[in-house]
């Protein structure tokens, strides 16, 4: 018998937050086959083994994360709910390996269908024709009546953080090629909107908290680049979390409202010198370096108050500051093993020097794809890490563990247990972010509205029900 009482929401430390990262991967078949093979067909073969065990190409895994094929045949991996940044980075890196593990089976199925080729999966944000796909950051925030104003207040930060958190890319224009901070910046058309593919906002305001809607909302940030290096992901999510903590404490924010956000995000992206200015509504013009420095000072002023000082906070602030310093001084060497845009810049410049070519040379574009290729053999990133050219944050064992095990301190733990036990039992089941259900059995749906809760008597009973045939 499953108890029906929903436990009351846990009292949660305001510093504790639920994070999630959703990554759409680029899917590329490199093949000399005479017939055209669509991305949809490749994705179908890639997910064949998933459909075999999950009866769907849209599944939750034993690590409580979601794996599916999204719009445009992009394999997408959404991490389980994490309440620490190290868990989040481990889950995110685990996702790269989970999708990569589908490649060999996909290639075999293609071969059986008469197509010889290699499948590449890129953790990047644009294809060669300039189509864009995203990396979405989720931050659970406390519900408030003025959500739109609250979300808007984050925009000056999001427009300018790319000088630290951008993935970097070669931008080709009719006037020639140049290196920019963020491949995603050019695809942004609005500050806030509830649509995603039609209008491409920086923050998606669709009210879908996947949690108790009386208490929470989800800050769904979709302006960011997919990031490869663990320290870049740390500062991308970590610095954003610190600003949100200050905003949630209703502290006074510096007046940095931008006059034209869409112009500003492009101007910042395309100026590696960091001297381009953005216009504020009060008429001032500031560089992205100045705006980011203002946010760093803001966080520093709240240390020991709204923001408890921890080693992790110190580390985020340190890298954030070094990133801003690198742009201000134009000496990138201080971050060239930690920030994606600087790692890639160094790599591309070195290769360009070796080849003696111009920046729009296709071999440099090829190198860029190799950087984002998540394959440990065909990709470049794993090799850079192995050579110590990219720093790591999370131990290897934690990433391997995260491929099969959910984070232990959030609702993900309950979902992970349920999926594992349900698969073992061979019973049909359905799962989403807030529901667990054994198919066919009446009264066995459990609603999990509290993402902070990692223990629940109802789920224990559900697991018992699975264990008894």
């Amino acid at each position: 018998m499953i108890p029906t009482d929903i436990p009351p929401p846990l009292e949660v430390d305001p510093a504790r937050r639920i994070f999630g990262l959703e990554t759409e991967f680029g899917l590329h078949l490199d093949s000399a086959a005479s017939r055209a093979v669509t991305p949809e067909e490749v994705a179908g073969h890639l997910f064949h083994s998933v459909v075999q065990w999950g009866r769907s190409s849209n599944v939750f895994l034993t690590n409580a994360s979601r794996l599916y094929i999204d719009v445009g045949a992009h394999p997408e991996y959404a991490t389980a709910e994490c309440d620490t940044l190290t868990d989040l980075i481990a889950m995110d890196k685990a996702g790269e390996r989970i999708v990569q593990d589908l490649v060999a089976g996909g290639e075999e199925r293609l071969r059986a269908a008469g197509v010889e080729g290699e499948i590449h999966l890129y953790k990047n944000n644009t294809d060669s024709a300039g189509n864009s796909y995203g990396c979405h950051e989720n931050y659970l925030v406390r519900r408030r009546a003025d959500f739109k104003a609250f979300a808007s207040a984050l925009l000056p930060f999001l427009v300018t953080r790319q000088i630290v958190t951008g993935a970097g890319t070669i931008t080709r224009t009719p006037q020639g090629a140049h290196y920019s901070f963020s491949p995603r910046a050019d695809h942004m058309w609005e500050g806030l909107s509830s649509a995603t593919t039609r209008s491409r906002p920086m923050i998606n305001t669709r009210d879908e908290p996947h949690a108790n809607a009386e208490l929470y909302r989800r800050m769904h940030v979709i302006v960011g680049d997919s990031t490869m290096a663990e320290p870049t992901t740390l500062v991308k999510v970590g610095a954003t979390d610190l600003i949100l903590r200050i905003m949630e404490a209703r502290a006074i924010l510096p007046e940095l409202t931008l006059a034209r956000e869409m112009q500003a995000i492009r101007d910042v992206a395309h100026d590696l010198t960091g001297t381009a200015t953005v216009e504020l509504v009060d008429g001032r013009r500031l560089t992205a370096v100045e705006v980011q420095q203002t946010y760093i000072e803001l966080v520093r002023s709240h240390l020991g108050g709204v923001i408890e000082r921890t080693e992790e906070v110190d580390r985020i602030l340190d890298l954030w500051q070094r990133g801003v310093d690198a742009v201000r001084t134009q000496d990138f060497s201080g971050v060239e093993t930690e920030l994606d845009w600087a790692i890639k810049h160094r790599l591309l410049m070195r290769y360009q020097e070796r080849l003696g070519c111009t920046l729009d040379d296709p071999r440099l574009a090829r190198l860029e794809l190799a950087f984002h290729d998540v394959s440990p053999e065909r990709g470049l990133f794993a090799k850079l890490q192995a050579q110590g050219l990219v720093r790591r944050i999370v131990p290897e064992e934690a990433i391997v563990r995260a491929m099969t095990q959910a984070p232990s301190t959030t609702r993900a733990h309950l979902r992970g247990e349920f999926v594992s036990k349900a698969l073992e039992s061979g019973r049909d089941f359905t799962v989403d972010w807030v529901h667990l259900k054994i198919a066919g059995a009446s009264g066995t749906t459990v609603l999990l509205k509290d993402p902070f809760r990692s223990e629940d008597a109802r789920v224990d009973a559900l697991l018992d029900a699975l264990a008894t045939p």
Partner: protein, 62 residues
């Protein structure tokens, strides 16, 4: 609770801090490692680079 030593500081764990930043390698050595890596992959990257890049086209996502 962590045990404290005479100075009142917690003892360091015996295992090295997994997330402690590694000491920055000398710029020269790191540059050499990068050159070696580029030399290693250069051959495979140059094969039909243009065709390879051009063939990666997919509809946009979200």
């Amino acid at each position: 609770m962590a045990q404290l030593n005479a100075q009142g500081q917690p003892y360091e764990d015996e295992t090295p801090e997994p997330d402690a930043p590694a000491p920055a390698p000398a710029a020269q050595a790191s540059g050499d490692a990068l050159d070696d890596l580029l030399a290693e992959i250069d051959g495979s990257l140059q094969v039909n680079a243009e065709q390879f890049v051009r063939s990666f086209v997919q509809k946009g996502g979200q």
